[in-house]
Structure formats: C-alpha cells, structure tokens
Amino acid sequence: MTLRHLLSVPCGAREPYTLRRLIPAVVCPAGEPASGREPSGRRERPDPAPPFAPVFGGLLFEAERDDRGGLISPRFLGMAGPASREGWERALGRLFHPARNIGAALAASRLLPEGASLDIWLALPSPPRGQEREFGRVAGRRLRFALRQEDRVTALLWWADGAAARWERLAAAAPGHRCVFRGFVFMRPYLDANDIHVAKRIAEELGSRGMGLLWCSNCGTTPAHGTDARFDGLFLRPTRFGIDSRDGDGSGFPDAADFSVRHGPGVVVWVPDGSPERLRRWLRMGKAHFAGRPHLFELGDWRETGLIDPASPAYHELRAYLSGIGPPAVPPGCAPQGEADEAGCGRSAGNTGQTGREER
C-alpha cells in the first residue's frame, strides 16, 4: 500500500467539521500556484484545467471523547471517563454523519479533479487495559477489559466492523464522491506486551477483512523499533521537536529521520498547538529530512488556529511544501527492524480499488 500525505481531523464531541471547513483540506483553487514547480511524476493536467487542485491525499478522522466524556482516543488516556459501547457507537454516528465529518469529506471530494481521490482513515479507539467498568455487551458477551485482554480485541473489531458498514451506507448515498476508505490507525504510541498482542490480532483480523492498519508511534517509544505486529504502515512522531521551550532546534528530528531512512516509516508533523511558526520550523526540517516520505499532519484543532484556512499565510506555505515535496516516493515501512519487503507490506487495504493518480 502506498500511503499519501494525510491530515488529522480531530473530532471532538461538540463541533463537527462542516463542508466549508473541510474544503480547504481537500482542494484549493487550481489557479492559485502553491509553488513554482510541479511534483515529479505527476501527469500533466488535462486542458482545460480543472477548477480545483488536491491539497492533502487523505484525511485521518479521530474521535476524541464521547459526548458524555467517555474515552475514545488514547490521546485522552486518564483524562476521560470509562470507555463504553454506547459512547463508541455514538462517536461512529457523529463521524459518519451524512453532512458532517466524513459526510462532509465525501461532499468535498466531489470537487477533486478527475482521476484524483481522497483517502479516508479512521483512528481506532482505545480500550484501556485496566478499565474495571464493563464496556458493554458485544456479540452476546459483556466485555471487561481488566479481566480479559481478548475483550479489547473484540471491542475494537466490533467498532471497526461498525465503521466499515457505516462507510458502505454513507458512500453509497453520496454519488460522485472520490473518497477511498483505506482502514484504521492504531494511535497509542506506547505498547506493552498486552498491547502488542492486541495490535497483532487487530492487524490480522483487519487484513482478512481487506482493511489496512497503520500505527502512529513516537520515535524511540517502547517498542516502536521492535514489535512484530504487522502494521501496513508506520508514521513516526519525532516528539522532542514539538517542545520548543527546551531547545527549539528539533533535536529529535534527525534521529527520526535516520530511523526513517533505515526502516522506511512516514513522519508525523506534530504541531499540537497550531502555532504557524512551529509549523514553519517543521516544514523546514521536513524538507531536509523527510521529502520522500509520507507525512501525517497533526495540527491540533486547525479550525481554531486557522492553519487550514485560505486566509492564513501558513496554509499557503503548507500547500507549497506539499507541492514541493510531491507525493511520497516510497511506501511506508510496515515492519520495523527492517523487515519490510520492497513492495511495502504487500497488503491491499482499500475496499474500492480507487487510487488517486495525483497522489499527495
């Protein structure tokens, strides 16, 4: 599977993403040059030029907490109530709203030029290992994560199957869309032995269902460099770069870049506070170290910060960066410790067969 440049879409329980908000992440007016040169390997545009050009190659939707404060994303581990079946189900309902979030992405993708497509990825929720409270009943069983590790797998697969089913219904009701549902992303960077077991089981099960599984890990995290869970792709977050009060020189970035060169993962551009200046520093470093790699942009809630807003200079710098580095030149490493084969992992994850030709 060839990954493309992705943008994280953090979905809180309150304000969904509307079509108007998502359009700048998906397309921009084709007449506005983002940079002086076309990315290598891209075909010439048909004449007359389409009205819009692609921006990101895909969107990663991440539900954060449910509407009652229950845990969904591991980003809120210890900062949310217990995970529950009802909360996760309501989160699916919001993610696959016909006119919001993924529904809005489907609508926005209609603006893509012919031959282009938009990948859709979903962040997997986090079933906390130590949660004593019952998660809920799935497949006739009451799930208790603290008692049975396998219940965590059951909950995740139930959710993934629910997402896939909702995708089928929503996509079928949106004729003319250009989205491709690619699969899921394991978001928790730290994996202990139990988590690795869960990740392996999920990877196997999703693979058998034709869905992909990516992992967002931190460079240096346990055991990012040694797990045998077969992810279809790995994005590394050079975390140390994100904190500029310490040194501001991006000391973690070269380490991540070195690892990437040896093992082939993508990179997470991590600007949680949405600071344009921090984003600029990332882009400077990224051009030097990660030009050929797939990027995942984690920019916090970019509606608040305006980073993905045509009125913001940072938005145009970001577009110029994407145009400058072009689509990823290599598939992401799927097996840390150099186990990836030359064709990436060789696992097909898309369920529609659509592939964007103007990949970003």
């Binding site: 980003r75 581990l77 130590g130 730290y190 202990d192 140390r240 916090g300």
Partner: protein, 332 residues
Amino acid sequence: MKVLHGPVEIASQMGNLCAALRRRGVKASAYNTFHTYLGYRDNVYNTDPYELEWLFPSALKHFDLFHFHYAATLLPDYADLPILRAAGKPMVMHHWGNDVRFHDLAREKTPYVYTGDSPPNEEIRRRLAILSRHISFAIVQDYEVYPYVAPFYEKVFILPLALDVRAVKPRYPDAQRKVPLLIHAPTNPRFKGTEHIEAAIGRLHGEGVRFRYFRIEKTDNREAIRLYRMADVIIDQILCGSYGMLAVESMSLGKPVVGFVREDLLPLFPEEPPIVNTNPDTIGDVLRELIAEPRLRREKGLEGRRYVEKHHDLEPVSAQLLAIYKEMTGKG
C-alpha cells in the same frame, strides 16, 4: 479538581494516592514511565516518556494541578515547568529519598546510610535549583528526607506513605510457633543493609538458634505480599534511618517489623512507630530476642497494625493530601 500524578511510580504511591483521591471526588490520574519487576499496575497508566510528551498538550488543558514524583516531570529537562507555570497550574514535587539524599549530609546523620544510588551532590543541587525555580511546594514522607529539600522550596509538607490498610486482612504471628519464619525483601540490597542482615542470620544459625529465613527478590509485588502473609517477622531496611513501604505493608499484615529508625527522628513522627529498632551493630541481638519471644512478635504485630491504620491508611493520608492541595491553591 483534576490532578495528574507522574511520572515515576515508587512503592505504588502514585496509584495509592490516586485511588484515595478518587474516593474523595478528585479526578486523579497517574502516569508511570518507570517499569520494574514489581509490576505496579493498579490505578496507574504505564507509559513511556515519549508517549507522555505526546499526551502533554491534552494534559495541559485537562488537569488543574500537577503532582510530580522523584524529581522528574513530564518532559525532558523540565521543559514542561515554564509552560505549566505560565498556564497558572499549581505544581508540587514529591521527593522520595534517593532522588535528593545528599551524600555528605546523609552521613552526618548516620554512619550506616548507603547513598550509592543517589546522583552526585552537584547534580542533586542542580535539579533542585531548577525545580524550585518553578515549583514552590514539595512533599516528603518523613523528616528523614525533609532536610535535603527544605532549603530549596517555599514550603515542604510531610505526607506519610499511603496504603489501603483497611483492604488488607491482617494475619498476626502465631504466638505458639517455635520456629518462626523471618522474611527480608530487598529491592536494593545495598540500600537496605542486606549484607549485615544476612551476616547476622548466619551467626544465629551457627549458634543453633532455630528459625527459617527467606529472602524475596525480583518478585511481583502481589506475589511478594502473598509471601509476607506467611512471615512471623519482617526485616525492613536497617541503614538509612527511617522505614519504608515494606514496613508499612508488613505492619498492615500484622507482622512485627525490624528496622532502623534514627533516635532523633522518633519524636518527629506523629506517634512513635512500633518498629523493632535495630542497626547493623545490634541486628543479631534483636532478631534473637524476637525469635525467642512469640508473644513479643504478636504484640508488635498488633501495635503495627493499629499504627498503620491510624497513620498510613488511605483515609487519613488523602485527607492530609487534600489539605496540602488546598493550601497550594490558596483555598486552604
């Protein structure tokens, strides 16, 4: 109130304190990046420093108060402290001993102490200087640790070690048992004085004194506690001059505890701890007496249980901790 504890779990204290706070309506979460064979997992999210950094932006928004442990904070080189301070978040540093025990000062207090696991004095001083630049308050478990940090902080609170004593069913020593079982469980033998203890054990065996001895090491905490239940005497640390979590756990089980508490510290505890006091010079005699006196073992076991119920149980400790938080936040 939402409180974060992290990032080093020592003697299950973060987990215990969070459990206690939650009973009082505080939303407390603990994150641990220090993983040992002890396998602490109750009430704690086990993680690593990289994930902690990833969680930091969410934590900054979510938590009202940050309670750090063992001279460590959430980001490398204390990079989080100016951010937290600028955000107006109250912070407290909980020091545990080896993180701040200045070598020379410790030896002034007692000749027995082992400080080989503490950083060099200059490093301790450097860390405390940075920490106290941003954090006004510290917590220590007793007056043994207090003097190391007192010169640095605006205020240092004493908070006894916390244990859910009432959840532990005591098993007092059998007053009829003629051949008692002595248990010593060193997480760090050089710090605990294991060499002196086992030399004394060897001498007693050589004298023909009848007892059994079992040393527990590199054992999961839950399994260790199961083994302590079988003991007639528990030997804690005999060098540093105060008692630790093994003593508290053992007293909760109703076991007599042998340890070394400095004479000058005894009046500074809220009540004199019923530790059977010894040191490397007297350990043999103290053990001989306990082995010979089943009733003394039982008496000490009963006293110990009463003591920890009063001073180390989650209820009194969490009440003190909440009072500390209130004082820190100006709501005291």
